[in-house]
Symmetry: C2
Amino acid sequence: MPGRPATSAADPRDLPGIFARLRPQLDALDRFLRAQVGRFEPEISGMAAYCLDTSGKRLRPTLVFISGWQGDGVVNDDLVRTAGVIEMVHLATLVHDDIMDRAEIRRNRRTAAREYGPDAAVLLGDALFSQALHIASQFPTTEVCRLVSESTRKVCSGEIMQTMRRHATDITLAEYERMIDLKTAELFRVSCLLGTRLAGHAPDFVAAAADYGRHLGIAYQIYDDLVDFLGEERRIGKTLGTDLAGGKLTLPLMLLLEKLPPAERGALVAALRDGVPLAHTASAGRMRELGIATGVVAAIDREIAAATAALAPYGTLAPVPLMRQLCDVLQAQVGALQQPA
Amino acid sequence: MPGRPATSAADPRDLPGIFARLRPQLDALDRFLRAQVGRFEPEISGMAAYCLDTSGKRLRPTLVFISGWQGDGVVNDDLVRTAGVIEMVHLATLVHDDIMDRAEIRRNRRTAAREYGPDAAVLLGDALFSQALHIASQFPTTEVCRLVSESTRKVCSGEIMQTMRRHATDITLAEYERMIDLKTAELFRVSCLLGTRLAGHAPDFVAAAADYGRHLGIAYQIYDDLVDFLGEERRIGKTLGTDLAGGKLTLPLMLLLEKLPPAERGALVAALRDGVPLAHTASAGRMRELGIATGVVAAIDREIAAATAALAPYGTLAPVPLMRQLCDVLQAQVGALQQPA
């Protein structure tokens, strides 16, 4: 999800309800990540510190903490370490994403690629990956290492698929779902799986939480793809979103392509294939006229419903109210996005 | 060690003595790596297979096998898996190195960056790293994962240092030693450490083997840096080596800079700083006239002597004769390099 402004997504820090309750855990995570800086070789620790900055949304750590929820103010070191591992993997993928997207700015500061050059950024992402797995290997068993390394491979596979299919105009819905399942939902899934596991829950709830995380991750990525059109427009009214510019065929674009009359469809296909810019407002307007946003939101709603359904038998467990609340937060953000500017 | 022809280095397959004895282990490694292809997501397994090709020198696996040597024909599955992990980490670093060096050819075929584009190659290297650590996490304990992830971070740190100091003309000997210790000697060290550990050796021999591996790795990297000048020249007589072209100040260049008269030194400094080509034969000739090769070889000899010394108290242990033989192989290759073409 490169290049998004922090306000475009469900940031727990913008949401006093959940955030107030997660503050002790997220503060512990920030301390943990800051302490990790000293574990890198002195020659590169300044660069590592730059990448481990604390301004991110911390969505995956939030999932670890709420799925392993043990009560207000309870800070479980295993959960903090796992959240740190998963966040560091995520930050490593962002460092590499920014090289590929030629992104210069993320979260109001220069990307690592811009700050240190793309070559150093490739290696810096590698160093972050390695250190994340090194922290994972400090648990008594190999479980965290095994699960996180596998999820990392899947995230990379999803991103490779997306990269190899850039500028393609014939991506199927099944292919899109597979890509976002791997590149985004997988880390959401493993965050919930490990959160519940490390909090000592029974295997059936662990599996349900993993399922919840996966569906929430798919919903989040579809939402994020929609923000790329409707979110930006409301804020700045600039040219059509970064996905179209990067030749990425996402669900909003797929639905738009289906419904556009042939002449307009041709222009959009050319824009996707050749990276030709299209007027954003026009396309966002067309999206509303043709009911595309409604179709995209219906897909998000289905995933949120599946996430919620996975939790249904476990309403009495401590994490479940917070897990449901996070679904509500995402749903509220999706609703806000649908209001015309 | 990007971009070197296979014949430029101590390839055990070129050396019937050691290779004949290691064949069962290296064949098992090839089978293991081929089987790993199926563990990647189907959408990327073809790309993974491309990177896991079997034409490499397999130096690090050779170190795992000889330091864990248990007799001719004895194939220890733990050693095969560890060799596979370390080789896969090494192959991932090569995939990323080739992006940075804009290398198009490695081992007589296109690099992954050339074949799939640099963006996919970044992600493919990441997927290889992840899968390597995933295999490491399949041991009963976290030890392999912990040691390999830490070594990988160190390799990346060494490469970051080198990247940030490209085109610098004021690198000290201490800095050069630190860089090659991290980027090359670290994986040699951990190969020997894990080989002896998994073969059940006592901690004192494990530590000695690690020390041996580290010194051998430093010796190998200095040798490889010398090959960049003297090796290429004898084969093709093309322009000065890739290190100078890439702005990498290696030991041969450092010693040359020290001994050149001021006018020639200025030309070399400019070549390093600006990537201006210099006639290779002239510089290689100057290296011989000024006794540079002799100075570089003395540094290699010191490291080989230190590697051998580390083994001195353990002459009766099964791995030691092979470990010493590998030192002899490197020394013979260094000797061959010194002969004028």
